[in-house]
């Protein structure tokens, strides 16, 4: 085993409870996004594109889909001789096992995995977020600042600031204060949940934190505050660009719609920073003679006979003749029947909106059709 300079630990156990039926049998990082991706594709692709070839993916909630999706990692070029991607569910000892207590506990319990690679730096990221980021640049920042820990930060709207971990920094980007979801935020610099640590420093803090019975074993609530309290060098790495935590049905819908702008902030067409995903071996999309497709993203394997406007269609979805899909997200292999109308909705994987059925409203909450559901005429979704 060659030693690695920097390895990544990706937290992918999130339940995503506010995503409702979409995450009944799916961890949040496995949720579909953007016509062909799952959310975790973004962090895994970021790793590969940043030259990080060793990634531990920490699963716990509904790990089977993620496990099978990640496979041996070849989709992200992470099927490596040394390193590559390893799925790390919580470990069961003879006396039993339990879920990770918090984000820091999750890393603590996988220290043996980390030490196998003898890394200088450990990058801790979340599989829940949609963004493109060059972690190598962040590492460069971390090294030039001679930091022990570096937190990636993004400026958020002041009105939203109290929903995030908010940092205060001095003129050298050193973090002087950190507050988790403060009622009165001191700044609008929010933590993105992307941390670069010197492994030796982190290891000591993880051990100390684990010994503290009162700790919630969380990076934001415990580790970072302890580091700041003890004067450890923590820096803030400023990030600009698209970053979204799609925590709710509305924000998932919104993030999909964001892609339909003429020049979306999140550019999926950039050949120098590809977002990789598992391939499903579909033929090109077929747009029938009578179809109409405008302002939309449509994936391979779709067959469109009806009208699609301002929508995102995943692979294998089918829009029958006379159907209208507008302002909607149609998940993989969903079927929109002849003459059906779908407005401002998310139609789950494999769901069917039968012929002539109408769902969704031009205003108000987004309508959600759960995976594999049949929606019949006259039965409101």
């Amino acid at each position: 085993m060659r030693s690695k300079r920097c390895i990544a630990m990706c937290l992918a156990g999130g339940e995503g409870r506010r995503l409702g039926p979409l995450t009944h049998h799916l961890a949040k990082p496995a949720v579909h996004f953007g016509g062909k991706y799952r959310i975790i594709d973004f962090t895994l692709s970021n790793c590969t594109n940043s030259g990080i070839d060793t990634v531990g993916v920490l699963t716990q909630y509904e790990p089977l889909v993620l496990n099978s999706y990640i496979g041996i990692g070849s989709a992200w070029d992470l099927d490596r001789k040394d390193g590559g991607v390893t799925v790390l569910p919580p470990f069961v000892e003879q006396q039993g096992g339990n879920w990770y207590k918090g984000t820091a506990n999750a890393i603590y319990r996988n220290m043996a995995f980390i030490e196998r690679y003898d890394p200088e730096y450990v990058l801790v990221i979340s599989g829940d977020h949609i963004y493109k980021m060059d972690y190598e640049r962040m590492l460069h920042f971390h090294r030039t600042r001679n930091a022990d820990a570096t937190i990636a930060v993004i400026q958020v709207d002041w009105k939203d600031a109290s929903r995030f971990g908010i940092l205060a920094t001095n003129e050298r980007d050193q973090v002087i204060d950190f507050a988790e979801k403060p009622a009165k935020p001191q700044s609008n610099l929010a933590s993105m949940g992307v941390y670069m640590f010197n492994w030796k420093t982190l290891k000591a803090y993880l051990q100390q934190d684990e010994a503290n019975k009162l700790s919630s074993n969380d990076f934001g609530k415990d580790i970072i505050p302890a580091m700041l309290f003890e004067g450890t060098r923590v820096f803030a790495y400023p990030f600009e660009g698209y970053w979204k935590d799609v925590g709710t049905i509305d924000s998932l819908w919104e993030a999909n719609m964001d892609l339909l702008a003429d020049e979306p902030t999140l550019d999926l067409f950039d050949d120098r920073w590809r977002i990789y995903s598992q391939n499903t071996y579909q033929p090109p999309q077929y747009i029938a003679p009578q179809a109409r497709v405008t302002r939309s993203m449509v994936n391979e394997g779709c067959t469109v006979y009806g009208e699609v406007d301002h929508s995102v269609l995943f692979y294998g979805s089918h829009v029958a003749p006379g159907a209208l899909v507008r302002d909607s997200v149609i998940m993989p292999n969903a079927v929109i029947g002849a003459g059906a109308v779908v407005i401002r909705a998310i139609v789950g994987e494999g769901a069917t909106v039968t012929d002539g059925c109408s769902i969704g409203h031009p205003t108000g909450d987004i309508t959600l059709i759960a995976s594999d559901q049949w929606v019949r005429k006259g039965v409101l979704a």
């Binding site: 062909k36 391939n279 579909q282 033929p283 090109p284 077929y286 391979e300």
Partner: protein, 363 residues
């Protein structure tokens, strides 16, 4: 469970696709929006449980090697066996397939399979070779030759007797009768093939050896009851490409049988603008479509700008059709750039072919 090995013969091609084969072999010609011709035969083999495939190559092999890579996309990056690209001897002399098979004789000795399937790459179809193997074993044939039934004009037709044995082959049968057209896929025992390779007064090719001696080689026929596209000219290339716009054909090739694999490019989904008009088109991922597309096949990464019109055409990978350009009855090879307000126009019978990377700026 490994009974068959595969050989894809990319040498001594009788196929001429003009500009499309100027810098690549037939096997590497792009087809169907995201594939290369070889993907079909290779996927058929892999889907039928074949795990050792030799590809006999000649000139212009680089685009094919780039496409096949390590064989990973077809699950052929195996420890033992897998994909072997067998190069020509490199001394500039063109070898026949028999000579090349003889030079790589050890390849056949290594594998433990009992049967070999020899095929060419210019046939587009989706066929389960395990069924062919079953028929081959039932019939007790030396060789099983695959064919399909058609009323179209073809190069040759088999005479098949009541027991399924091929009694004779006719060249260029005419008229609207039903012909049994060979598709250049043959199944045989490996030991039979090795005997042929070692014959001192050798035939020019395995195919010739089989078809010239129908009296002493027991050749049985197997009918492929599915869509078959024989791509042997620009006209047939164009015709079979356009056939993909028929939902039945699309279904037979891609959705009825096992999947067709190809090199993954990780393109995002295709994006349509407010002004896009797309009707009757097959469109791969990674395109941005602002203009009008009708009755056309659009490959990965194509840009069609506002006001541009593409009709009855094939636009290959990374093509760019600028504002208000018109492309009609044309085949644009990879990375062709058509300038704004320029026209590229052919006819249904003779589509205009634009070579790779050409900048098209004729008014």
């Amino acid at each position: 469970m490994k009974h068959m090995m595969g050989v894809i013969n990319c040498i001594q091609e009788r196929v001429d696709l003009g500009a499309l084969t100027a810098h690549r072999c037939v096997a590497a010609v792009p087809f169907g929006g995201r594939y290369r011709l070889i993907d079909f035969v290779l996927s058929n083999m892999v889907n039928s449980g074949i795990e050792d495939v030799a590809v006999l190559t000649e000139d212009n092999v680089r685009p094919l090697m780039d496409h096949l890579g390590s064989g990973k996309e077809w699950d052929l990056d195996r420890k033992r066996g897998g994909l072997f690209v067998l190069p020509s001897n490199g001394h500039g002399k063109r070898a026949s397939d028999i000579e090349q098979l003889r030079a790589h004789r050890d390849f056949f000795h290594r594998g433990t399979q009992e049967y070999v399937v020899i095929a060419r790459s210019h046939i587009v179809c989706n066929v389960d070779l395990r069924r062919v193997l079953h028929a081959h074993e039932q019939s007790g044939a030396d060789v099983t030759a695959l064919y399909y039934c058609t009323t179209e004009d073809v190069d040759a037709s088999f005479d098949i007797d009541a027991f399924g044995r091929i009694a004779a082959m006719h060249a260029s049968p005419k008229g609207l009768v039903l012909k049994n057209a060979p598709i250049d896929v043959y199944m045989m025992r490996k030991s039979w093939l090795l005997d042929v390779i070692d014959e001192p007064q050798g035939a020019i090719s395995v195919e010739q050896r089989i078809l010239e001696r129908l009296h002493d080689v027991r050749v049985y026929a197997y009918c492929v009851d599915a869509y078959v596209g024989i791509i042997d000219s620009i006209t047939s290339y164009y015709r079979h490409s356009m056939a993909l716009l028929q939902p039945d054909v699309l279904r037979e090739l891609f959705f009825r049988g096992a999947p067709i694999y190809t090199k993954v490019k990780d393109e995002p989904p295709t994006k349509y603008a407010d002004a896009s008009h797309v009707h009757n088109a097959l469109i791969a991922n990674g395109c941005i479509i602002n203009g009008c597309v009708e009755n056309s096949i659009i490959f990965r990464g194509v840009r069609i700008h506002a006001g541009a019109v593409v009709r009855n055409s094939i636009v290959m990978q990374n093509g760019e059709i600028s504002e208000h350009a018109h492309v009609q009855h044309a085949i644009l090879d990879k990375e062709v750039y058509v300038e704004a307000e320029h026209n590229v126009v052919g006819t249904a019978d003779a589509p205009h072919v634009v070579p790779k990377k050409k900048v098209h700026a004729i008014a």
